[in-house]
């Protein structure tokens, strides 16, 4: 008697989808699925090749900036060091310049003359004209010296003082401050044209106004052109508004701009 043996080829195992290949790589499959994929990869050149291709691209991606070094600015957390950010913008055009512009327009032609006459009679239009007159750009403020000195009471902490020279009569000087909650900055006016940045972590003078955003302001005497603020070690930058306006007005503006801190500096 002969034995008739019939053999049937095993049904072809479907290839592994790319998504499952990555899930396999990332250990996101169940143990049973993981074993199934591993077994298939051992027998299927197409799928093992596809896996290698995906990993090659992922490797290119991994290599990009893989050796990126943390820059110096990030060597310590942002709440460790005081940082300073100084900017200036030109003051608004004076009324005299608006009037001069109106006089010029009067001689320039019918249409422009009409505009000039209307401007002379209409404060809103005069204001619109004024907003388009750009005064000459003030020189940028310059940090002339930065010094650190240890502060008492907090081991390892320093107080940073920055001297900033600016042109007081034609600029609005903004120095941005941001720090941990609870910090306040004491602002003292000086009579020189150099701003010293000095403040302290808590407290203030009886005449000090402590704002919700931590900024503390003193009313400057008439004619003052500079402010003095120490920067505590746990603040990031300092903000002071100086444009010859009153303390009350500064206070309202600072409140309105709460949350407008600018982070700063290397």
């Amino acid at each position: 008697m002969s034995l008739h043996v019939v053999t049937h080829p095993e049904p072809a195992m479907p290839h592994i989808e790319d998504g499952d290949l990555l899930r396999f790589e990332d250990a996101e499959l169940s143990p049973d699925d993981r074993a199934r994929v591993a077994e298939h990869l051992a027998r299927c050149a197409r799928c093992s090749g596809q896996r290698a291709a995906l990993l090659a691209i992922a490797g290119r991606l991994r290599a990009a900036y893989h050796d990126a070094v943390l820059p110096r600015a990030l060597a310590t957390p942002p709440w460790h060091e005081p940082r300073l950010h100084v900017a200036a913008r030109p003051a608004r055009a004076s009324a005299r310049r608006v009037r001069r512009t109106v006089r010029i327009a009067l001689w320039a032609g019918i249409g422009v003359a009409g505009l000039a006459v209307a401007a002379a009679a209409s404060p809103p239009l005069r204001g619109w004209l004024a907003s388009r007159i750009r005064p000459p750009a003030a020189p940028a403020p310059v940090v002339t010296r930065v010094t650190d000195r240890p502060t008492t009471g907090t081991p390892g902490a320093v107080s940073r003082t920055a001297e900033v020279a600016f042109v007081p009569t034609s600029t609005t000087l903004t120095i941005s401050l941001r720090g941990a909650r609870g910090d306040s900055i004491e602002v003292r006016p000086t009579t020189s044209e150099v701003v010293r940045v000095r403040g302290r972590a808590t407290g203030g003078e009886p005449t000090v106004v402590v704002l919700p955003d931590g900024l503390t302001l003193l009313s400057p005497p008439a004619g003052t052109t500079a402010y003095q603020v120490d920067v505590p070690p746990n603040v990031q930058s300092v903000e002071i508004r100086h444009d010859a306006r009153s303390l009350a007005r500064l206070t309202r503006e600072s409140l309105a701009r709460q949350g407008g801190w600018r982070s700063r500096l290397p």
């Binding site: 989808e17 790319d18 998504g19 499952d20 290949l21 990555l22 899930r23 990332d26 996101e28 291709a53 995906l54 691209i57 992922a58 290119r60 991606l61 991994r62 290599a63 990009a64 900036y65 893989h66 050796d67 990126a68 070094v69 943390l70 820059p71 110096r72 600015a73 990030l74 957390p77 942002p78 709440w79 300073l84 950010h85 100084v86 900017a87 200036a88 940028a140 403020p141 310059v142 940090v143 010296r145 930065v146 920055a162 900033v164 903004t174 941005s176 941001r178 941990a180 909650r181 990031q236 600018r262 982070s263 700063r264 500096l265 290397p266």
Partner: protein, 174 residues
């Protein structure tokens, strides 16, 4: 310094900074390709951690989600760049570029090539790939980009395929 994550859980920003700042910086650099912007993103992310710590999200995933959002907001319109003049302290005039002047020119060019290709991917694809490179689980990635855990593998594979296609023409250039 610690801040309350919830009444029972405390977060230590110092420890989190030590553990994750470098990876976060690398992630931000890959997202936006700009060292200065990446540095700003890292600083702002950790300041937000201090000001308003996460309540229901693991801190690491939260950090990367915030950084992703910042990279999108700041990198897209440049609104973050309404810069006033920056003043560098006189004693800190060092280059902060991650690769420095002695870095390998070939490596920098490849970084630029990969970043150029990455920047052409849809934001979701880019975020999935970059978070995957940082070792996040598919569940964490799904939560970050707003999809299901099961679909992350498929989306990542498609994104890699797109990235390969974007990189391929550059490979063929003489």
């Amino acid at each position: 310094m610690t801040v309350a994550l919830s009444p029972d859980v405390m977060v230590d920003p110092e420890r989190l900074y030590t553990e994750h700042a470098r990876a976060l910086y690398r992630y931000a650099l890959r997202q936006c390709g700009d060292a200065e912007l990446a540095s700003d993103i890292v600083q702002e992310t950790f300041m937000r951690l201090v000001r308003r710590p996460p309540r229901d999200t693991a801190p690491r995933a939260w950090l990367f989600q915030v950084a992703t959002n910042l990279a999108r907001e700041w990198g897209r319109t440049g609104v973050r760049r309404d810069r006033l003049d920056r003043i560098v302290p006189l004693d800190a005039l060092h280059s902060d570029m991650p690769n420095g002047p002695d870095a390998d020119l070939v490596a920098r060019e490849d970084h630029a090539t990969v970043h150029a290709a990455l920047s052409k991917l849809p934001e979701r694809d880019r975020t999935i790939l970059l978070m995957r490179e940082e070792g996040f689980t598919h569940a964490e990635i799904a939560a970050a980009v707003g999809t299901t855990t099961k679909s992350v593998g498929t989306l990542a594979a498609r994104a890699l395929t797109k990235l390969a296609a974007l990189l391929a023409p550059a490979e063929d250039l003489p």
